[in-house]
């Protein structure tokens, strides 16, 4: 845009002043004009965009099969969800709260099974 001569700029501003903006120009000229208008009319500068998001466990199920609490919540022993009460997947691809499945596994005398599919429980690699 620096290559434009000054008179051209003045000419280009005129269509803006008379609103019905014509879209029927050639595309590259249109783009040029837009770029120019950005300087001439308004530019914005974003200092901070503070967004909001919610996290969720990337699990197929909604609730833990042992404690019946939501995965995004926490097990009955925990106070804080998320990092403090993580999920764990078994080799069978069933997910549980870590605390829940540990309790389950420890309560079994012999080799523990997945509470959902009764396959031998093994933590997913």
């Amino acid at each position: 845009m620096l290559s434009f001569e000054t008179p051209r700029i003045r000419v280009l501003r005129t269509p803006y002043l008379n609103p019905p903006f014509r879209h029927s120009r050639k595309l590259n000229k249109e783009e040029m004009k837009v770029k120019l208008l950005r300087i001439l009319v308004m530019n914005y500068n974003i200092f901070v965009w503070h967004a909001v998001a919610s996290w969720t466990w990337d699990a197929q199920d909604e609730t833990c099969g042992i404690c019946r609490m939501a995965f995004d919540g926490c097990c009955s022993d925990c106070k804080l969800p998320g990092d403090d009460c993580p999920l764990i997947w078994g080799a069978c691809n069933h997910a549980f709260h870590l605390h829940c499945i540990l309790k389950w596994v420890n309560s079994q005398t012999s080799q523990a099974h997945c509470p959902m599919c009764r396959r031998e429980w093994q933590f997913k690699g």
């Binding site: 308004m42 919610s54 969720t56």
Partner: protein
């Protein structure tokens, strides 16, 4: 002999029998002579030449045993003369004042004083004369008796009897003709005198104060000096006493004369009422409408200085005061020997004076109490400043014990002035809190508070926004501007703090309580409830006025309060552009102490989310430098991952979030997905779900000649960013580009229009407005405050701006499940009352989801159904709308 003659007519008759002609003659002569002498004595006023004759005739009559005749005749003629010369003349003086009650303005007090003094002087002179005559008779009788008994002196001729008889004649004569307005006249006389005295004393006090002030300026040891100063004051005031004592003496003379005439009780009434009036006026004058200073002490001081001193002097003058008899030498003025300031300290005051003091003080307390109770509402309105007035009132009530008066009057004031539709809930709550605080001073046990608070609580329960207001009050201290208006006294947060301290104390107390000794001390300290306590409410031996408890009592359950607080907290946290939540943490900690850990669990998780977000955000930012891949387009738009912060919430524990569709500009959108990707990398297997309509954006708009800074919601940012590429949009196109419905867009875009950034012009299609970027921002000058570096926080300035569903919305959502039940019930039963619906729901909806709503919640839901025209409400019964 004398007694028998006087009392028995039979004896008289016996004497008459024994009379011969000579003696009859003699009797007749001397009786005539006696009558004439008596007449001339009584009329002659000062002509005592007939005294010899008089005595002679009396002796003659006595010789014949006719004492009683002489005496009775003499008294009768005295009576006649007094009626003529004394009483009627006396009353004539006051004829001018017969209309005294009607035109109080025209009274000239000096005039009254003059007339009264003249009249008294005259009648006393008359009375004195007559008493002299009476004394003459007594002397005549006495000398005869002495003659008979040959110098045995102690023979009573009935002097006392005669004089009391005379006194009786005088007063009955006066009383019989008493004009109705005479007490009024007396009252005005005393009023005038007392006011005069008051002015003198006031002047003196002021001078003393001035002197004291001067002294204080000289010497900084104020208190030390003040005690030492008493002597000086006394010497100083003694100079003034002649003036006072003259006045008091005059009054004393009048009082004595009046007593002399038998007006003892009337006089006392008159000066008592004058004193009380003056006291009342003084109390009103001192107390006035200023609640910022305590007036009780100055009133007491005034009582001590003016009326008591007056009474002291008066009683002393009249000889009633023992102390006067004991302490004053005859020639000295009674006041000179007893300056009032030391009077109660050193000398024993007379019993009468003490009684007067108690009467006056009680009256002062009662007057002040009535005055304060009548204005209690205003006093409580500016409570923290008006605490001296409250303190006064407390003392007054301790003395008078008329607490019930306070309760009644204050409740009616509340009903009339506060509990009306016009008062905002916030004002009512503030007043309630102030009332609690103020009455807590007066009555630590909270008995009266309970009675007074009841109407307020009942009223607040009927208001919809009560909970919201309470929660705002709870959190005001955190979000509020600390340097702002000094309204922080109202904040309940301080109460939370105090509670915390109290709770610590309680713990210590409990430790001590295990000690037997302490238990014994506690037992000894026990005090019964005041008599006014409502026995139905049980004996609260350890009643502690707990403001928060009383506030929560309005709502009924803490759960509702906590729920509302959670919504408010969520709103606040979601609108934060930094992670600074110290004040919120503090509030939640304080609330936890009060409401218990478990009820604040979710709030704690919310705060924890913020803390985690901050950490995660830093971690994610740290990954940027390593990869350092810069998206060319976003870099051009002036935004990079550095500018992006995120609050990551555990949505299960937050109140339902309102999600609105929003298409944000590509550059930002890509940043968001980049951010989410990085999050997923760090926190596998967790992932992010953006709530694009939430959050805040700080941006700067640059124009040809100026730049403006804003803090806005993402919606606003998305809208204005569209105008960079294209300066004019129709609303339909813009709605499509941003992904928000047209009506919502129209509402949101008004923000930019109000800031003068965009203009709206009605196009050909009325539903399709055109928005244009204002060129050069010339128009912005009209919002001069907004130009330049203005920063506008926009959170919640439009009604639909909330990011969190309000409690009502949540309730409506939860209740829709039961709507079918309710409609079914009404189909079966036809009509049902509110509590029956409530009970039936409670009975049958026990699982999935259980019905756990309160009656009020059900009512508000049903009224919603009524307004949707699904139901009808007639006479408290709900029907299906046909």
């Amino acid at each position: 002999m004398m007694e028998s003659l006087a009392s028995s007519p039979v004896g008289n008759l016996g004497i008459l029998m024994s009379l011969n002609d000579d003696s009859v003659q003699e009797i007749l002569q001397s009786y005539d002579g006696f009558c004439a002498a008596a007449k001339s004595l009584l009329d002659g006023s000062g002509d005592f030449s007939v005294e010899h004759d008089f005595v002679y005739h009396v002796h003659t009559l006595c010789k014949h045993g006719l004492h009683s005749l002489a005496r009775d005749y003499f008294l009768r003629s005295i009576e006649e003369v007094f009626e003529k010369n004394g009483a009627s003349r006396f009353w004539r003086h006051f004829e001018n004042y017969s209309k005294i009650e009607e035109d109080l303005d025209k009274i000239d007090e000096d005039d009254i004083q003059r007339v009264l003094c003249n009249a008294l002087e005259e009648i006393c002179f008359e009375k004195e004369n007559q008493e002299k005559c009476l004394l003459m008779l007594v002397h005549a009788l006495q000398s005869y008796m002495d003659h008979l008994s040959d110098g045995k002196p102690n023979f009573d001729v009935g002097k006392d009897y005669l004089f009391s008889k005379y006194q009786l004649i005088v007063s009955s004569m006066l009383m019989a003709n008493l004009p109705r307005h005479f007490p009024e006249v007396l009252h005005f006389y005393f009023k005038g005198r007392l006011e005069e005295l008051n002015t003198i004393m006031d002047g003196e006090l002021n001078e003393e104060n001035e002197q004291r002030d001067r002294d204080e300026m000289d010497l900084d040891e104020k208190s030390k000096y003040r005690t030492g100063e008493m002597d000086i004051d006394e010497c100083y005031s003694q100079d003034k006493f002649p003036e006072n004592s003259k006045l008091v003496k005059n009054i004393g003379k009048v009082v004595r004369d009046l007593r002399n005439l038998g007006f003892t009780s009337m006089t006392e009434d008159a000066y008592a009422s004058a004193i009380f009036m003056l006291l009342k006026a003084k109390v009103h004058d001192l107390a006035g409408d200023d609640y910022r200073s305590s007036v009780l002490d100055s009133i007491k001081g005034w009582i001590q200085v003016v009326p008591l001193q007056f009474l002291n002097a008066l009683l002393a003058y009249l000889g009633d005061s023992i102390s006067f008899v004991q302490h004053s030498s005859g020639t000295k003025s009674p006041l000179a020997s007893q300056p009032s300031s030391s009077y109660f300290g050193t000398n024993t005051p007379s019993e009468g004076l003490i009684r007067w003091k108690l009467r006056l003080e009680y009256f002062a307390y009662e007057t002040l109490q009535d005055l304060r109770i009548a204005k209690l509402f205003e006093i409580i309105v500016d409570y923290p400043e008006s605490s001296p007035a409250i303190e006064d009132l407390k003392q007054c009530l301790e003395y008078t014990g008329q607490h019930s008066k306070l309760v009644e009057s204050f409740i009616s004031a509340l009903r009339y002035r506060l509990l009306t539709a016009g008062a905002s809930t916030n004002d009512i709550l503030h007043q309630y809190v102030s009332t609690i605080k103020a009455l807590r001073t007066i009555d630590p046990a909270g008995v009266f508070l309970e009675a007074v608070g009841e109407p307020i609580r009942d009223y607040l329960r009927g208001r919809k926004d009560t909970i919201k207001c309470i929660v705002t009050m709870l959190t005001d201290g955190t979000s509020g501007n600390p340097n702002g208006s000094g309204n922080s006294g109202d904040s309940l947060l301080e109460e939370l703090n105090r509670d915390e301290e109290n709770q610590e104390n309680v713990v210590i107390d409990d430790d001590f309580n295990t000690d037997d000794k302490q238990a014994w001390i506690d037992a000894q300290r026990w005090e019964p409830d005041p008599v006014e306590a409502d026995p139905l409410k049980g004996s609260r031996n350890r009643r502690k006025v707990d403001i928060l408890g009383m506030i929560v009592g309005i709502i009924g359950s803490k759960d509702q309060l906590v729920n509302e607080y959670r919504v408010m907290l969520a709103e606040k946290l979601l609108n934060k552009s930094d992670y600074d939540i110290d004040s919120e943490i503090r509030t939640v900690e304080l609330l936890k102490i009060h409401f218990g850990e478990s009820s604040m669990q979710k709030c704690e998780i919310m705060l924890n989310d913020l803390i985690d977000s901050k950490r995660t955000n830093t971690n994610i930012k740290a990954t940027i430098n390593k990869t350092s891949e810069i998206d060319p387009e976003s870099a051009e738009a002036g935004i990079s991952l550095d500018n992006l912060d995120a609050t990551i919430i555990s949505s299960n524990f937050w109140p339902p979030i309102q999600e609105e569709a929003l298409i944000i500009p590509d550059s930002v959108d890509q940043l968001l997905s980049d951010y989410a990707r990085r999050f997923h990398e760090i926190k596998t297997p967790r992932k992010l779900l953006w709530k694009k309509n939430l959050g805040t954006v700080k941006l700067e708009l640059q124009f040809e000649d100026k730049a403006m800074q804003f803090t806005v919601a993402p919606v606003h940012a998305a809208i204005i960013m569209q105008f960079q590429d294209q300066t004019s949009w129709t609303s339909k196109n813009l709605a499509a580009a941003t992904g928000i419905p047209v009506d919502m867009l129209n509402r949101r875009i008004s923000f930019w229009i109000s800031k003068g950034v965009l203009t709206e012009s009605l196009g050909t299609d009325p539903s399709n407005h055109a928005f244009t970027l204002v060129e050069g921002m010339i128009d912005a000058s009209k919002n001069s405050g907004n130009t330049g570096n203005c920063e506008e926080l926009l959170a919640g300035d439009e009604e639909a701006e909330r990011s969190v569903a309000s409690v009502e919305d949540q309730l409506r959502k939860e209740m829709t499940v039961f709507e079918k039940f309710i409609l079914g019930m009404l189909t079966n039963f036809g009509s049902m009352a509110l509590d029956r619906i409530h009970n039936t729901l409670k009975m049958f909806c026990v699982a999935d989801p259980p019905y756990d709503k309160s009656l009020q919640q059900l009512q508000s839901f049903l009224s919603g159904l009524v307004s949707e025209e699904k139901l009808e409400l007639r006479d408290g019964m709900y029907f299906l709308k046909k």
